[in-house]
Symmetry: C2
């Protein structure tokens, strides 16, 4: 079996996801993906007019998986907004550090700056959820502003941590202290 006719379109994305998590983002050449999918180098063009659109589809999978992990970790939302935000932060940082290649791909400039590739449609709902939680955790604050600053903080921690700048400076074994520091800064001390 091994999925002989599974629709080339989604199979290309599958191969790409597999490739970026195992080999890294530089392995995502159009021809290599086609090779591993068992088709000629011109075949992807039928479904993805350009290399960037294929990369965008792969990155979209990353956002979807991240969102899935997020809602799964929240479960029944009995916890306080503050604790839910902490959970989401942990999930995100863990995802970014265990799926380095995918995380790097998801936040590539040429992918996110484009309005046509439509990665915003997948990333914005995640942000909206955060805005909502921040609004309930800090009713007196400007929720989109604080949520934006907090998201930027989490993203920055993920980046600086991956290339080792921060564990050198803070000699911390994992990212938990940094995450706590950021959460306490933006949301106040957990009462």
């Amino acid at each position: 079996m091994s999925e002989p006719k599974a629709g080339l379109r989604s199979r290309l994305v599958d191969v790409g996801v597999e490739l970026v998590t195992t080999e890294g983002v530089q392995a995502l050449s159009l021809r290599e993906i086609a090779r591993r999918a068992g088709v000629s180098h011109g075949a992807p063009r039928r479904y993805f007019p350009t290399h960037l659109e294929l990369l965008s589809a792969i990155a979209r999978r990353g956002f979807e998986e991240l969102a899935g992990k997020g809602v799964a970790a929240l479960g029944d939302d009995t916890a306080s907004p503050r604790e839910q935000i902490a959970t989401l932060g942990r999930v995100y940082l863990d995802f970014a550090l265990t799926h380095r290649g995918m995380h790097e791909l998801m936040f590539r400039h040429d992918l996110l700056e484009s309005n046509e590739l439509g990665l915003r449609d997948v990333s914005m709902p995640i942000f909206s959820l955060l805005v909502d939680l921040v609004g309930r955790a800090r009713p007196e604050a400007d929720a989109p502003l604080v949520a934006g600053a907090l998201l930027a903080n989490l993203y920055g921690i993920a980046q600086l941590w991956t290339w080792g700048s921060l564990q050198l400076a803070t000699d911390a074994a994992d990212f938990a202290p940094l995450l706590d520091t950021a959460l306490e800064a933006h949301l106040g001390r957990g009462e």
Copy 2:
């Protein structure tokens, strides 16, 4: 005149800096830099064994210029530590948004993750200055930890702002509200 013999090594970096600020980071091919420097495509190899090392030298210029702008803006350090940090934050965000290509280059994964390319030597002093200022602004806090979280926050704001995710969400005209939010979060309200 026009600097006929100005040392190819630094001339290549000059061309690269010029190129990345005007055309963007994707224009920094080895052969294009050589072309604009008026030499053959094999010439850079004498000074930079690999393309990445040339890119690293160009990025180093970026860090140096940023550090220069920082100390210039501080001037005589009569201001409070908190105000000095705010000044540095403004300078950094302004630099990141006016020199988009250079900022993107400076924080490329393949450049920063490498220990051999030695970009850390240029970026760490800047971080150390921030740690020192944070230590004086918040003597009770774990200075490297707070400084790390703050730096990550600034970096994240710079990134999310460049690709437009944040002005869509916060409908702010410039980055000042975000910067203030981040500073207030990590350093407390400016007394």
